[in-house]
Symmetry: C2
């Protein structure tokens, strides 16, 4: 019998009524003759509530205990979901990360999966049960409870789909799939029937919030076919696989991100080792640097700019300013009012001139480009935060993304 | 170094402020040079909230999933308590029932402890840490999460104290110890400095709500010294040990219970096997029969009365009425308006006439006695529910329990 992994996020199980709707769908899938393994997140705002409680008793919660605390959230939702599924006469059993055999390293709060055993899940499925697994959690090689960090439930689902050789991993969420742009910014944005792993990775990395980057990478590496779809309408969504869309569009979507800030280290001597020193120091402080751009040298000095999550800006400035004199920088400046717009599409590889067209569209809209970075299937521009929505709308229209390709 | 087990109930950790007060006390105990293992219940009304959620998604929650759900409560409180303890610079680590090695049978919702391994707790203590253990939970021999039922956290604490050879097991609660009567009924009730296991067992069995009967039995069987005390005033409370009070009081306390109902099976033939049939049938239906009284036979028939928790009354009536014709009963009647008053004291063994004095006190108060049952250190009378408080007050006064014995 073929097996499908179904993952439900927090909004999909936010209250008992949503929980019952999910149970109904799972039971229906099971009765249609599919084996089902479910991965579930904590209900609605449970995780935020628990984090608040932790800060009520403690200024700097230790990682081990924070993981013990947060994993209570998935424990509650998976037990309730099992009960709701059994109410349909479909046998179900819940499993913690540890019981499911999800073995991780010891990095509390952002553990990496080392191994997935899954024996108890296989047993449960062989007995005709729906296995419901707590997302986001595992057990470390030192037998402590760990969490996988942001997007962790997606990673759990993909890892289980890989090890259980599932036909597909269905990621249910509060949107109907992957869109050509954020529909809140571009009302005419269109749902993509399918995208390739490569495109999905670029989208996830540049602001597409539907899937966590890590889970897409994992899916790609293990050949797990993803299906991103809605737990509200239950209609078919977007498939993520090797081929992606068979349509001939040049670009698949426009993403944006306004959660970052920019740091510029100006006029450092243009000699080997400067960048290594700077980014080594930032890495030592666990600062998550995203985009890095260094201009061509003029007059023996060069400017280095990089973006970081806005929450890390103060720390990034501290590190950069401390290092400034040592690396001979003229100044270090911060800018929190930036945003990034990216166009993504596998079609770029065979269509030269896309970059030029992007720059022209932005120029026609009077949007100034402050930084540019590209990959073979992506062009990203850092612009003023206030220009972001206008830039997304203009690019979406210019590439005719609201129309299905011929 | 000597080790103490400290158990905190739900009211002791009901909110972040209470949690911090508990952490402060634990840290202080640790700094005074004691090794400490803490057992903690779920915060305040968490368990009730979770039970309500279960009934929101499901009419009859399966036991396995109910246990998975409810154990989230202790998980939250133990993680938070660890954080609050570490805030004092005292290292702490939390352990689930499974991690603590509390192995149970497979009876979900009322599992029995089969073995306590405790290796990880010993390791943690040897490393100078306070080990904080989730009360009320274990892991079954089939590797499923189980709960120990009512009073389960007390049982966890006593079992750990036994296996870790603790000097004492401190049970912190919202009252200051064991009293000669419920202070809400008898304002002059006095806290007992100590009671024997035997007396405490009788008190727990007859309505004294401070300790669960099962944990007292466990403590007695394993020689664990208990200290029942307040987590609000932190003053010394009541010791429970082999000797009990060294005072010469005849009785130690008066307890009462108004949570039961009475069933009378009238005029059954007085021949062997009738009682066995009746109580066998009730046991088969998992009905918890407490007190049983059978009158002396008159005219070849006899009346059998028994008490059950009020929640079980309907089921007990159904079983008794179904069996009635078969065992030749004349009628089966229910009475939910009863209460039980008990006087308890090891001094009874050497003081004849206590029973007669009890009956005279109740008679002087115009309290009619409907059923009587005794043990070597206890006399219990079933009376009208409305007479219970008056009976308790009269007995407490008659035996001068408000005065410390000479």
């Amino acid at each position: 019998m073929s097996l499908v992994v179904q993952k439900f996020g927090g909004t999909s199980v936010a209250d008992p009524d949503r929980m019952k709707a999910v149970a109904d769908h799972v039971a229906r899938t099971r009765r249609q003759g599919q084996d089902v393994v479910v991965v579930v997140s904590a209900m609605g705002k449970t995780t935020d509530d628990l984090i608040r409680l932790a800060h009520d008793v403690c200024d700097d919660p230790p990682g081990r205990e924070m993981d013990m605390l947060l994993t209570a959230g998935e424990r509650i939702s998976m037990a309730l979901l099992c009960m709701a599924i059994e109410e349909h006469g479909v046998p179900a059993a819940s499993f913690t990360g540890s019981q499911a055999g999800i073995v991780t390293d010891t990095s509390h709060g952002r553990a990496k999966i080392l191994e997935v055993r899954g024996d108890r899940l296989r047993e449960a499925v062989a007995q005709g049960k729906v296995a419901v697994v707590a997302g986001f959690q595992g057990v470390s090689i030192e037998r402590d409870v760990t969490t996988l960090g942001r997007g962790g439930s997606d990673t759990t689902a993909v890892a289980l789909a890989a090890v259980l050789k599932a036909e597909a991993c269905e990621i249910y969420t509060d949107v109907a799939g992957v869109y050509t742009a954020d529909p809140r910014v571009v009302p005419s944005a269109r749902r993509l029937p399918s995208v390739s792993y490569e495109e999905m990775q670029e989208m996830a990395a540049t602001g597409g919030r539907v899937l966590a980057l890590r889970s897409v990478e994992f899916a790609r590496n293990h050949g797990v076919v993803l299906h991103v779809r809605s737990s509200f309408t239950w209609e078919p969504g977007t498939w993520v696989n090797e081929e992606g869309t068979l349509e001939q569009a040049i670009i698949s979507g426009v993403t944006h991100d306004t959660s970052e800030a920019k740091v510029t280290v100006a006029q450092v001597p243009d000699r080997p080792g400067i960048a290594a020193r700077l980014f080594g120091a930032l890495a030592d402080d666990d600062i998550n640097v995203d985009m890095i751009v260094q201009n061509t040298s003029t007059g023996g000095t060069t400017d280095i700019s990089f973006t970081v999550p806005r929450a890390d800006l103060a720390a990034a400035m501290r590190v950069s300013e401390a290092l400034g004199p040592e690396i001979g920088a003229n100044s270090v400046t911060a800018d929190a009012e930036i945003g990034r717009v990216s166009v993504i599409g596998a079609g770029m590889k065979t269509n030269p001139g896309v970059a030029a067209r992007v720059f022209r569209v932005l120029s026609d809209e009077d949007v100034n480009i402050e930084m540019i970075s590209t990959s073979s299937i992506r062009i990203s521009c850092v612009v003023r935060a206030k220009d972001v929505e206008r830039a997304v709308q203009a690019l979406h229209a210019a590439f005719e993304l609201d129309r299905a390709p011929a």
